[in-house]
C-alpha cells in the first residue's frame, strides 16, 4: 500500500506537473499530447481523491489526515509549514474540483480545438486546478491564501485568454482588481488571526476560538468575509463576474461556476466555529447573500447574452449559498454548492455547445428553434434548467428546499425574499431555455448553415453532468422525505463544534411538506408563465435598435452599477493618480532626480571656471587655501 502521505501530496502535485510540462512546451507539443497530459493529470488526481474519499468513509467518524510536506517559513515567532489537511469537507471539495475539472478538461479538447492557444489554455487550466487544490487542502491560512491568490491569477490569465482583444483584457483586469480589493480584507483578517492566536494552523485557531472575545472574532470574520465578497462575487464586489464571461466558455464553467467562486463558501464553512461565535458577522453574511441573490436575479431577467444570464444566475445562487451559511446551516451551504457545481457547469457547457454550434453567436435574440438541430444539448440543457429551478427529484430541489426550510425557521422575511429569488431564477432560466431552443429561428443565415451538434468530447461531459444534476441531490435527502441526509452526516465532524453551540430548530415535517409544496407549485406556475410568454405568444426580447421603457432599461443596464462604480471610484482614482503623476512624480520626484544631475552639471560648470590658467589666480587660490587650512588647524 502506498503511504497515505504520498497519496495526499500527489493530489495537487500531479496538476502542477501537468502545468509545467505543457507550459514549457507550448510550442512543441501537438494538441493530442497536451490533451493527454492535462486531462490525464486531473483524472489521476480525481482517482486519488476518490480513494481518499473512500478511505474517509470507512474510517471512524472524526478522522482527518494531515500531511506536512516541509517547513516553509521560520522567522522569529512566526513559522508556517506546507501541510495538507484531508477531512470530510476538503475531500468533498477535492472530488468536486477534480471531477468537474476533469469533465471540463475533456470538454475543452473539443471546444478549443480550433484555437491556436490550445496548449497555453490547458497549461492555465492545470495551474488553476493546482491552486484550487492548494486552497482547499491547505491546513493553515497561509496555504489557503496562496491558493486564493493563485486562483485569482489563473482567473485573470484565463479571462484574458484571447488577449488580442482589449475589452477582454479590461475584463480580466477588472476581475483581478476586484478580487484584490477583497483580498485586502482577507489578508487583514489573517493578520488579525495571527496576532490573536499566534498561529495560522486551523487546528490551533479552532481549538482556541472560544477563548477570544466576540469583538475580535467579529472583526476577524467580517474581514475574512470581505475576501469572500470579492472572490465569490457578492455585493458590492460582484461586477467582475458578468464581465468575466469574456473568457472561453470552459473557463466560465470551471472557474466562475463550479470552483473558484466557491472558494468564499469553502472559507466561511471552514471557519464555521469563528462565525458561529460572532453572530453579527453571521447576520452580515446572511443579509449580504440575500440582497445579492434577489438583486442579481432581477438583473438576469433582462439580459440577452446567454452567458451573462448564467453569470448573474451564478451570483444569485452564490447569494443563496451565503444565506444558508448565514443561517448557521453550514452543511446546507456546502450541499447547495455541490449541486450548483453540477448544474451550473452543465448549463455553461451547454451554452458553450450552443455558441460553438452557432459559430460564436451569444445573443439569444439571434437564437431560437435549435431544438431539432442540437438534440443532446437540448436535453441536457433541459435537465440543467430543471435542476436549477428546484423541480423534484433533480439535484437543485433538495438543496434549495433545505435552504428555504432553514430560512423559514429563522424568519418569514428571509424566507420570502429567498423564495422570490428562487422563483425569479426559474423564470429567467426557462426564459433562456425557451428563447434558445423554441420558437422561430432567428439566427443569421451564415450561422444556421454551419449548425451541427457538438462532437463527442463535448457531449459526453454534458451527459455525465446531466446525470449528476439529476442524481446529485440524493446525497442529501432530508428526513422528512424519508432519507438520511447522508451529506450532513458525513460533514458533521467539521461542523460539530458550531452545531453544539447554536441549536437549530428543526421544523416539523408537516411544515416542511407545506413549504415544499408551496415552492414547487409556485415554480411550476412560473414555468408555465414563461412558457406562455415565450413559446405561445412567441414574444422576443426587444432588438437592439428599439428603445426600452425606463424601468426595463435600468434593469437591462444592470442598474447602472458599473457606471456608478466608474463615476464614484474609478474616475476619482484616475484623477488622483493623474494628480500624483503631475505633482509628485513629475514636479517632485523627477525634479529631485533630474535636479541632482543638473546640479552636478551646473556645479561643475561653475567650478570649471576656477581653472582659467592664470598663474596669478592660481597663486591667489593657493594663499587662500593656506589661510583656510591654518584657520581650521587653529580652530579645531
Amino acid at each position: 500500500m502506498v503511504d497515505i502521505k504520498v497519496l495526499i501530496a500527489l493530489v495537487p502535485i500531479l496538476p502542477l506537473i501537468g502545468f509545467l510540462l505543457v507550459a514549457l512546451n507550448t510550442k512543441r507539443f501537438v494538441q493530442g499530447v497536451t490533451s493527454i497530459i492535462a486531462c490525464g493529470s486531473v483524472l489521476a488526481s480525481f482517482g486519488i481523491s476518490l480513494s481518499l474519499f473512500i478511505l474517509l468513509l470507512n474510517a471512524p467518524e472524526g478522522t482527518q489526515y494531515t500531511v506536512t510536506l516541509f517547513d516553509w517559513i521560520n522567522a522569529g515567532s512566526f513559522s508556517s509549514s506546507v501541510s495538507f489537511l484531508i477531512d470530510p469537507l476538503s475531500s468533498l471539495m477535492l472530488l468536486i474540483i477534480t471531477g468537474v475539472g476533469f469533465l471540463i478538461h475533456v470538454y475543452s479538447i473539443g471546444y478549443m480545438h480550433h484555437d491556436e492557444g490550445y496548449n497555453r489554455f490547458f497549461s492555465y487550466l492545470n495551474l488553476f486546478v493546482f491552486f484550487m487544490l492548494l486552497l482547499v487542502m491547505g491546513s493553515n491560512y497561509l496555504l489557503m491564501f496562496v491558493g486564493w491568490e493563485g486562483v485569482g491569477l489563473c482567473s485573470y490569465l484565463l479571462i484574458g485568454f484571447w488577449f488580442k482583444n482589449q475589452d477582454y483584457n479590461n475584463a480580466a483586469n477588472k476581475a483581478f482588481i476586484m478580487n484584490r480589493i477583497g483580498d485586502l480584507g482577507l489578508v487583514l483578517g489573517v493578520i488579525l488571526i495571527f496576532v490573536n492566536f499566534g498561529s495560522l494552523q486551523y487546528t490551533d485557531v479552532f481549538a482556541n476560538a472560544m477563548t477570544k472575545d466576540t469583538q475580535t472574532l467579529t472583526l476577524i470574520t467580517v474581514l475574512l468575509f470581505i475576501g469572500a465578497m470579492g472572490k465569490s462575487a457578492q455585493i458590492p464586489l460582484y461586477t467582475w463576474l458578468p464581465d468575466a464571461m469574456a473568457g472561453p466558455t470552459p473557463v466560465s464553467a470551471l472557474i466562475h461556476a463550479a470552483t473558484m467562486v466557491t472558494a468564499g463558501i469553502y472559507m466561511v464553512a471552514r471557519n464555521n466555529i469563528l462565525y458561529t461565535l460572532s453572530p453579527i458577522a453571521l447576520e452580515l453574511v446572511l443579509y449580504t447573500g440575500l440582497i445579492t441573490a434577489v438583486f442579481a436575479a432581477t438583473i438576469a431577467v433582462a439580459q440577452n447574452d446567454i452567458k451573462k444570464v448564467l453569470a448573474y444566475s451564478t451570483v444569485s445562487q452564490l447569494g443563496l449559498m451565503f444565506v444558508a451559511l448565514g443561517l448557521g446551516s453550514y452543511s446546507t451551504g456546502i450541499f447547495h454548492m455541490a449541486t450548483h457545481a453540477f448544474f451550473k457547469a452543465l448549463l455553461f457547457l451547454c451554452a458553450g455547445s450552443v455558441i460553438h454550434a452557432l459559430s460564436n453567436e451569444q445573443d439569444i435574440r439571434r437564437m431560437g428553434g435549435l431544438r431539432k438541430y442540437l438534440p443532446i444539448t437540448f436535453f441536457t440543457f433541459l435537465i440543467g434548467v430543471l435542476a436549477i429551478s428546484g423541480i423534484p427529484p433533480f439535484a437543485g430541489f433538495f438543496s434549495k428546499d433545505e435552504i428555504l426550510a432553514n430560512a423559514f425557521s429563522h424568519s418569514y422575511l428571509v424566507w420570502g425574499v429567498a423564495a422570490f429569488a428562487s422563483l425569479l431564477t426559474s423564470f429567467y432560466m426557462f426564459r433562456l431555455f425557451f428563447l434558445t431552443f423554441y420558437g422561430t429561428e432567428r439566427a443569421w443565415e451564415k450561422a444556421m448553415s454551419h449548425i451541427h451538434e457538438s462532437p463527442a468530447s463535448i457531449t459526453i461531459p454534458l451527459s455525465v453532468l446531466a446525470v449528476l444534476s439529476f442524481a446529485g441531490g440524493f446525497m442529501g435527502v432530508p428526513e422528512s422525505l424519508g432519507g438520511s441526509h447522508w451529506l450532513s452526516e458525513f460533514l458533521t465532524p467539521v461542523f460539530s463544534q458550531s452545531l453544539s453551540i447554536v441549536q437549530h430548530h428543526h421544523l416539523d415535517h408537516a411544515t416542511e411538506y407545506m413549504l415544499m409544496a408551496t415552492i414547487v407549485g409556485l415554480t411550476i406556475v412560473t414555468i408555465v408563465i414563461a412558457y406562455v410568454i415565450y413559446v405561445s405568444k412567441k414574444s422576443v426580447p426587444t432588438p437592439e435598435s428599439e428603445k426600452l421603457n425606463p424601468v426595463h432599461n435600468i434593469v437591462y443596464k444592470k442598474y447602472l452599477i458599473d457606471e456608478i462604480y466608474h463615476a464614484l471610484i474609478v474616475r476619482p482614482l484616475y484623477a488622483l493618480s493623474h494628480a500624483f503623476d503631475i505633482f509628485i512624480e513629475r514636479l517632485g520626484i523627477d525634479r529631485i532626480v533630474n535636479g541632482m544631475g543638473d546640479s552636478v552639471q551646473e556645479g561643475s560648470k561653475t567650478l570649471r571656471l576656477l581653472q582659467n590658467g592664470g598663474i596669478g589666480f592660481y597663486i591667489f587660490a593657493m594663499v587662500i587655501g593656506i589661510i583656510v587650512l591654518l584657520t581650521l588647524t587653529v580652530l579645531i
Binding site: V623, I627, L630
Partner: protein, 172 residues
C-alpha cells in the same frame, strides 16, 4: 642695548621689504631686497649665529641677488614695461595677506614664552661645523649633488633650440 638693536634692524628689514614689493622698477626692488638681507644677517649676529650670518651675506646678497640683477639687465626691464594688475586684484591681495598675518599671529596665541637661557655657542663656526660633519654628513654631501643638478639644469635650460638664438631680442 640688544633690544634697541633688534628694533632698529627689524624696522629696517620690514621697511625695505615693503619697498621691495611696492617699487616700480625691478632694479630698485633688487636693491631693497639686498638691504633686507643685510638686516636679516644682522639679526643672525644678534642671535650669535655667526657662521650663518656670513654665509647668508655671501650666498644671498653676493650670489643670488647678483644673479637677479644680471637677468634683469639681460631682459632690459625698466619702469615703463612693467605690467600692472588691476586695482581690485591689488585690493584683494592686500586683504588676503592681511588675513594670513592674522591667522599666523592667531596661531601663536597662548604659546609659552621662551627666554634665552644663556648665550649659546652653537652658532660658532667650530661648533656648527662639528655638528654638520658628524650628524648631518649625508645631507651635506647630497646637497652638493643637488647643486650639481641645478647647475646642469640651468645650463640645459639656458641653451636654445635654434643655433644663434642665444641673442635676446631687444625691444626698441
Amino acid at each position: 642695548m640688544t633690544l634697541n638693536l633688534f628694533y632698529f634692524l627689524s624696522f629696517v628689514a620690514i621697511f625695505s621689504a615693503l619697498l621691495v614689493v611696492f617699487s616700480k622698477s625691478p632694479v630698485y626692488s633688487v636693491l631693497y631686497l639686498i638691504i633686507t638681507f643685510f638686516s636679516i644677517a644682522g639679526h643672525y649676529v644678534i642671535l650669535n649665529a655667526q657662521f650663518l650670518a656670513v654665509v647668508h651675506v655671501i650666498v644671498y646678497a653676493g650670489a643670488i641677488m647678483v644673479l637677479f640683477l644680471y637677468v634683469i639687465m639681460l631682459l632690459n626691464l625698466n619702469k615703463e614695461s612693467e605690467p600692472h594688475k588691476s586695482n581690485l586684484l591689488k585690493f584683494a591681495a592686500a586683504i588676503c595677506s592681511g588675513l594670513l598675518m592674522i591667522v599666523l599671529v592667531g596661531s601663536l596665541k597662548g604659546t609659552e614664552v621662551l627666554v634665552q637661557q644663556a648665550p649659546s655657542d652653537i652658532g660658532l663656526v667650530k661648533n656648527l661645523g662639528k655638528v654638520l660633519f658628524t650628524d648631518f654628513l649625508l645631507p651635506f654631501e647630497i646637497a652638493s649633488i643637488l647643486l650639481l643638478a641645478a647647475m646642469v639644469g640651468a645650463v640645459m635650460l639656458g641653451k636654445s633650440d635654434k643655433p644663434g638664438d642665444n641673442k635676446i631680442h631687444v625691444k626698441q
